[in-house]
């Protein structure tokens, strides 16, 4: 029997509702419909009054969650797509994320962002916004790449006392399968070496972890052993794991699906060079999406984001120095 990444998200929410009466889920179409991606299917019936449909009001959805959190709840807010959280940007970065610093009262909310591209989804249903939310103080930003992480990190996110931006990748929802959700359980904030190697380190997260592993598989045929680090949490970044890997390999490629200016890959590279310059044998490189909106057409989309091919190409170049 196999479970998918979205099953894990569903299961995590089921267990959270079961085990903690202060948890509730609020979002568009999450109640009887079970959400656009069925992440809450059946939960409104199982936990009456705790899984509720919201109006199309992303700003107020986050505001409501903040207020409820002040009063002791642990809300999970489902954005229908990460892209629509742009409407809630102010409440997330200025209301939720500043609250603890300003008042000393923490805001334990989890904002689920169905993120990342899939073929044909276009500019407004494909965005990866982790680098936007991570830029603000007061947020924790997680990007699970495995079925087990989808489960454990969601459970752990809700347990944390601060606002967590939970970036779940839509492409992984049904594509990524595992035998069980009981995989490894690492804490939030810790990266993981998903594939060991010695010639170069690829730091990736979310769906790009799998593209990186594929690229590593291909290069293996040429005798290259590529280490793949799954960041898991992009804020805060686990520099210990990243630096230890770079210390072993001397070469670094940071791969992300988000837009190329700034973002996770820039933060990773600039921290590695600041803290581990002497570990590097070659110029550390980045690979991100192209600097345009995410295109609709599958052919354009495939050329817009990093792929095993483009990762291989970047790695070959990196290995040539």
């Amino acid at each position: 029997m196999s479970v998918t990444y979205i099953d894990a998200i569903h299961e995590a929410q089921d267990h959270l509702l079961r085990d903690n009466s202060s948890v509730f889920i609020y979002g568009q179409d999450v109640a009887s419909f079970g959400g656009a991606f069925k992440a809450t299917k059946g939960l409104s019936e199982k936990y009456p009054g705790r899984v509720l449909d919201s109006p199309i009001s992303e700003d107020a959805m986050i505001g409501l969650a903040v207020g409820a959190a002040i009063e002791g709840c642990r809300p999970i807010i489902e954005m229908q797509f990460a892209d629509f959280s742009s409407v809630a940007f102010n409440q997330i970065v200025n209301q939720a994320a500043t609250h603890y610093y300003r008042t000393g009262v923490p805001i334990p909310i989890t904002v689920r962002l169905p993120s990342g591209g899939t073929a044909g989804s276009g500019p407004f249903h494909s965005q990866s916004m982790e680098g936007i939310y991570a830029q603000y103080p007061g947020t924790i930003v997680v990007t699970p790449a495995t079925v087990a992480d989808a489960y454990h990190m969601l459970v752990d996110s809700v347990a944390l006392d601060d606002p967590v931006i939970f970036c779940e990748h839509k492409f992984l929802y049904r594509w990524l399968k595992a035998d069980s959700i009981r995989g490894e359980h690492l804490p939030i904030g810790q990266a993981s070496i998903i594939r060991p190697g010695k010639h170069a380190t690829v730091v990736a997260y979310s769906a790009m972890v799998h593209e990186a592993v594929r690229a590593a598989d291909r290069l293996k045929e040429d005798g290259w052993e590529i280490e793949v680090v799954d960041l898991r949490t992009v804020k805060p970044i686990d520099m210990d794991t990243v630096l230890a890997s770079v210390a072993r390999t001397g070469r670094l490629l940071a791969v992300g699906e988000a837009f190329p200016w700034g973002g996770v890959t820039a933060e990773v590279i600039s921290r590695v060079v600041a803290e581990g310059f002497h570990l590097l044998d070659a110029a550390p490189q980045r690979l991100n999406s192209r600097d345009t909106p995410v295109p609709y057409h599958p052919k354009l989309w495939a050329a817009h984001r990093p792929t095993p091919e483009s990762i291989c190409e970047a790695l070959r170049k990196l290995l040539s120095f």
């Binding site: 568009q28 179409d29 109640a31 009887s32 419909f33 656009a36 509720l52 449909d53 919201s54 109006p55 199309i56 009001s57 700003d59 797509f81 892209d83 629509f84 742009s86 409407v87 073929a119 044909g120 989804s121 276009g122 500019p123 407004f124 249903h125 192209r290 600097d291 345009t292 909106p293 295109p295 609709y296 057409h297 599958p298 052919k299 354009l300 495939a302 050329a303």
Partner: protein, 371 residues
């Protein structure tokens, strides 16, 4: 049928009876043209649905089934090259009535590089912004202020007179801050904006009861200080009459007008959705009527068209649709290797000083205009 109106000044319907719609002289012709657009939309969308189910369309397919009378009435009330129309996800009929080329639709859905979006955006996100038809972004409510801005520009340029801008929006989208800000701003500027709220009872799966707490969204018009009309969206005659009147009022300088059309979406939210959350009694109720069937009956009864004529329209539309699909299907998609992959029209680096239009040409020393 007279439009019912709740204006800002007075709720009494008697005082605000609509004057004769402007299309009265050629009423039958107008109704037939609206109906023709409805029919074309329905036939085209049925085709899109089949293509989607056959796996020929990548991404979502969103249909306006059941909303054609409202949408086409609005599109047909507008004047191409004068007015602006910002269609939303269920506005194939309005697009057709406003004059959008069938090929714009099929090319966009099928990813032809020759469509207006060149494969960069898809399905209902298409538009031709410099031809009066903005290309919607997905974020609901966001088009209201854009439309307001287009009209605002015309006022600045001294050519607003006689022009209107119109858009459709769903019941769910009225809950967005963007809807509120945009409509209020248009009201403050007294712009000729017509907003038709297609209240199809649901926003995706969410019923009206979880979306707003007033009895009828038209009760919002007064709070914005704008004209308000409520209409049965399944009834072509009512839609044509009320919507034309709302457009006429906006055009004649009476400021924004809001029309709330009551109806039911007769398809799923998108073609991936079976809409099974719509209760049977709602489907079986008044708003579950198919506006196309009703319109057909109305037109035949009033002698505006014969069943044979309508059959003829159907056939020629089907042929048109077939052609537009075939053409789009044989066209190439975009070539990633030939794309310039730039989101900017500006090319950097800029030549030194060449990019400025305004230079301090005079000897006027900068003054400090405030203490």
């Amino acid at each position: 049928m007279q439009p019912t109106e709740s204006s800002q000044a007075n709720d009494q319907a008697t005082q605000n009876k609509a004057s004769q719609p402007s299309w009265a002289t050629s009423e039958n012709e107008f109704l037939c043209s609206v109906f023709h657009s409805m029919l074309q939309a329905r036939i085209l969308e049925n085709k899109l649905s089949s293509l989607y189910k056959a796996g020929k369309i990548v991404g979502g397919v969103y249909l306006g089934k059941g909303q054609e009378a409202v949408s086409a009435s609005l599109g047909a009330s507008l004047i191409r090259d004068v007015d602006y129309f910002a269609p939303l996800i269920r506005d194939q009929a309005g697009r057709t009535a406003f004059g959008e080329d069938l090929l714009d639709c099929t090319r966009t859905y099928l990813g032809s590089a020759q469509g207006p979006m060149r494969g960069r955006d898809g399905n209902i996100h298409r538009g031709r912004p410099t031809e009066g038809m903005p290309a919607m972004i997905s974020h609901l409510g966001a088009q209201l202020s854009v439309l307001a801005g287009m009209l605002f520009a015309k006022r600045l340029q001294g050519s607003l007179e006689g022009r209107v801008g119109a858009t459709c929006i769903g019941d769910g989208a009225t809950s967005t801050g963007a809807f509120h800000e945009g409509l209020n701003m248009a009201a403050v500027e007294k712009l000729p904006l017509v907003v038709v709220v297609a209240n199809n009872q649901f926003a995706y799966s969410t019923p009206n009861s979880r979306q707003f707490a007033c009895n009828d969204l038209i009760e919002r018009a007064r709070g914005y200080g704008i004209g308000g009309f409520s209409v049965d969206g399944t009834d072509l005659l009512s839609c044509a009459s009320v919507i034309t009147e709302a457009v006429r009022r906006a055009r004649s300088g009476k400021g924004p007008q809001m029309v709330v059309a009551h109806l039911l979406r007769l398809s799923g939210h998108g073609e991936h959705d079976d809409g099974s959350y719509v209760p049977d009694h709602v489907r079986a109720g008044h708003y579950g009527r198919d506006c196309i069937e009703i319109a057909m009956r109305q037109l035949v009864e009033m002698g505006a068209a014969t069943p044979e004529q309508i059959m003829g329209w159907q056939e020629s539309i089907a042929a048109d649709v077939q052609r537009a699909v075939a053409q789009a299907q044989q066209e190439a998609g975009p070539d990633p290797y030939r794309e310039d992959w730039s989101a900017l029209s500006t090319q950097f680096p800029l030549p030194i000083r060449a990019q400025a239009t305004t230079q301090p040409q005079d000897a006027i020393e900068p003054t400090t205009p405030f203490a």
